[in-house]
Each structure stands twice: as structure tokens, then as C-alpha cells.
């Protein structure tokens, strides 16, 4: 079974600085999808960024980018120019054949 590990339960960053959240996963599949979701205090799950495993180019969405290392099974999220509104739980997720597995999450606090 696929597993997803987020080794940083909590992180903090100063406003306007850059922070990287780590995610590793374990799978024997070669074609799959990876996601980062954000969950603010409102509890709503919001998609941040998506990466397709067959694409070597790292995905980017405005201030959010990923470092996808397929051989190492690593999928980290970099947030640039952190804003107070980025304060939230961040979940890494792996998806294959309708089975989506989430990591335990990293609680990120952006400090003014």
C-alpha cells in the first residue's frame, strides 16, 4: 500500500520569507499524481498544487512551487514570500487509481 510521510508536524516562518515543507512517499507504481492541499482554520480543504509523476518539470503556482524527485520519492513544497494567509495545515497526498493517501500534515504558522 502507498504511504505518505510528512516529517515536520509544525513549522513557522516570518512573513515575506521562504519556507519548504517536506513530503516523502512509498509506492511501486510509476504513473501517479501528487498534490499539496491547504487546510486553514476554516477547515476547508484547498488544492495548492498538483504534480504528475510522468512530468519531470516541477509544478509552479504563483508563490508555490514543488521540488519533485521521483527516484527519491520526495515531493517538497516551497512557499515564497510567505503571507499571513498562508497559515494553515498543509497535507501532501498521493493518488493512484482512485486511491488517494494523505500525509499526517504540517502545521505552518506565518509570523508577522
Amino acid at each position: 500500500a502507498q504511504t505518505v510521510t510528512q516529517s515536520q508536524p509544525e513549522m513557522s516562518v516570518q512573513e515575506a520569507e521562504t519556507v519548504t515543507l517536506s513530503c516523502t512517499y512509498d509506492t511501486s507504481e510509476s504513473n501517479y499524481y501528487l498534490f499539496w492541499y491547504k487546510q486553514p482554520p476554516s477547515r476547508q480543504m484547498i488544492l495548492v498544487i498538483r504534480q504528475e509523476a510522468y512530468k519531470q518539470q516541477n509544478a509552479t503556482e504563483n508563490r508555490f512551487s514543488v521540488n519533485f524527485q521521483k527516484a527519491a520519492k520526495s515531493f517538497s513544497l516551497k512557499i515564497s514570500d510567505s503571507q499571513l494567509g498562508d497559515t494553515a495545515m498543509y497535507f501532501c497526498a498521493f493518488a493512484y487509481n482512485n486511491d488517494m493517501r494523505f500525509g499526517a500534515g504540517t502545521r505552518l504558522t506565518v509570523k508577522p
Partner: protein, 114 residues
């Protein structure tokens, strides 16, 4: 925002009682999912549906059943609730299945089993 609603949003019930949670979508998406969220575990898939009357089990399906009689509604039933089923439950929808499309989530239902 994707048109997904969940009802009820909060529920407190007693051990041994049946509970049904409802997920309703207005997007006409084929795929619907039920997850539970617990501290230290992230979200875990309970059941999912890939069409009307077509459902399959997820990672933590024991103690839960689902039904989908219409495209827009996906019901999650706890036949006899236990304290271990105290959790926040999320419904999600996807146009083409989780492997190809992101899932859009509902607002969640907080269930407490006393």
C-alpha cells in the same frame, strides 16, 4: 467554489445508534468520496463511488456503508456508531477520478459519538 454541501455540519450521538451523513453536489461529477480526518492521520478514504449504484471500499471502510441512488447524492451510514468513529468527515468530488483530477472537498461534518 465547487458546489458541495454536507449535512448535518455537526452531530452528537450515542454509541450504538445509526447515523447517516449526506453529501450533495451540484457539479454533476461522476466520482464522489468519503474521508475521515483524525489528528496524526491526515485524511483517510472510507468509501468512494464511481457512478450511480457503483461504490467501492477505501482504506478504512469497516463499520461504514454507503449508497448512491442519484448522481448528486452520496450517503455515508454508520449502522451502529462507536466512539472510535468520532471524527471529522469530509466528502469530495472529482470529475474523472482522483488519479487524474484534483478532488474538491465539502465543508466537513464533525461527528461526536458519546
Amino acid at each position: 467554489d465547487a458546489g458541495i454541501t454536507q449535512s448535518p455540519r455537526h452531530k452528537v450521538t450515542e454509541t450504538g445508534t445509526p447515523v447517516t451523513l449526506r453529501c450533495h453536489q451540484t457539479e454533476n461529477h461522476r466520482y464522489m468520496y468519503w474521508y475521515r480526518q483524525d489528528p496524526g492521520h491526515g485524511l483517510r478514504l472510507i468509501h468512494y463511488s464511481y457512478g450511480v449504484k457503483d461504490t467501492d471500499k477505501g482504506e478504512v471502510s469497516d463499520g461504514y456503508s454507503v449508497s448512491r441512488s442519484k448522481t448528486e447524492d452520496f450517503l455515508l451510514t454508520l449502522e451502529s456508531a462507536t466512539s472510535s468513529q468520532t471524527s471529522v468527515y469530509f466528502c469530495a468530488i472529482s470529475a474523472r477520478g482522483s488519479s487524474y483530477n484534483e478532488q474538491f472537498f465539502g465543508p466537513g461534518t464533525r461527528l461526536t459519538v458519546l
